[in-house]
Subunit: 154 residues, 2 copies
DNA sequence: TGACAACTATTGTCTAGGCAACTAAGATAT
DNA sequence: ATATCTTAGTTGCCTAGACAATAGTTGTCA
């Protein structure tokens, strides 16, 4: 039958599954190392990788409200409130009540936030380039495609 | 010069880097969804994905000590102590002082732990097969290779 | 032997996210 | 207009991991 490499056959079965060396472990490891590396890279700026994600989403996107950010980064509203507290305390971000809808709180980067932002990007680029040494652009595109396919399978 | 697809050229630069759609976001998302899916799958057994990882490492490997587990799953020793507390409270794992080295604590799965373990594997297999629908074995192998190359670049 | 270094596990403290309850504000329907 | 429903953000409580300090144990070496 030669089903072993058909795309439609089940990949794993309980007999042969090896939890310790599999894809899950690799994904966790890579993600963790990337976060740790970015944390170290950003440490001199007193900014964490988690904060970087929020700032980047805020800086690049049109979604200026807190709840928009929550959906964008799949974050709990409560966690987001406190995250914004931290960023506001650091003077990187400002809460601005939306006049049209007074429930909504729009977020703006402060001058200081905008000033450090290029350094954040620089740090992220450094980290990714380090972990992607030896990859061609095609390979990265393919890696991204695989991950997108997994997400589409959700 | 046509350097754009040479493997040795830097992949990203600060001008073109798009933090919101890149590899980091994809990796985080995939990892998170896998964990959430496994959590849901294991919920009826009252076991979390994090606990599954420990149990799997313990069941499959020869590393029976707590500190061995710490290294194996890059876990904090303090966190590991409390993790084992939880597993012990659930009756899945037993602490056994090593007679040869009385600092060391060896871990054994209880009869109950061994009894549920096949169901854990079954759950994990189900989740991975779901997220890998449509993948050939070759594609999975290549995905794993990419991730291993990233780790090797650390 | 005794001082000292290295290792194992535990505990306390801190940080941060998840969940639920709550308040305020807008939207909708009667 | 008012009652009801939905949405946005905040707060309190709980859980869990990270880090640091500690106690007990082993190995080393003078």
């Amino acid at each position: 039958m030669e089903t072993s490499s058909l795309a439609t056959s089940a990949i794993y079965d309980s007999k042969t599954f090896e939890p310790r060396v599999g894809l899950g472990r690799l994904l966790s490891q890579v993600k963790m190392e990337l976060v740790e590396a970015l944390d170290r890279e950003l440490a001199p700026l007193d900014i964490t990788a988690a904060q970087y994600v929020i700032l980047a989403t805020l800086a690049e996107g049109p979604t200026g409200s807190a709840s928009g950010l929550c959906k964008g980064v799949s974050y709990d509203p409560g966690a987001m409130t406190r995250m914004i507290d931290r960023l506001e305390r650091k003077g990187l971000v400002r809460r601005v009540r939306c006049p049209a809808d007074r429930r909504r709180i729009n977020l703006e980067m402060t001058a200081e936030g905008k000033a450090v932002y290029p350094q954040l990007i620089e740090s992220a680029v450094t980290v990714f380039n380090r972990y992607l040494r030896g990859f061609s652009r095609d390979e990265i595109a393919q890696l991204e495609t695989y991950l997108k396919r997994m997400l589409a399978n959700a």
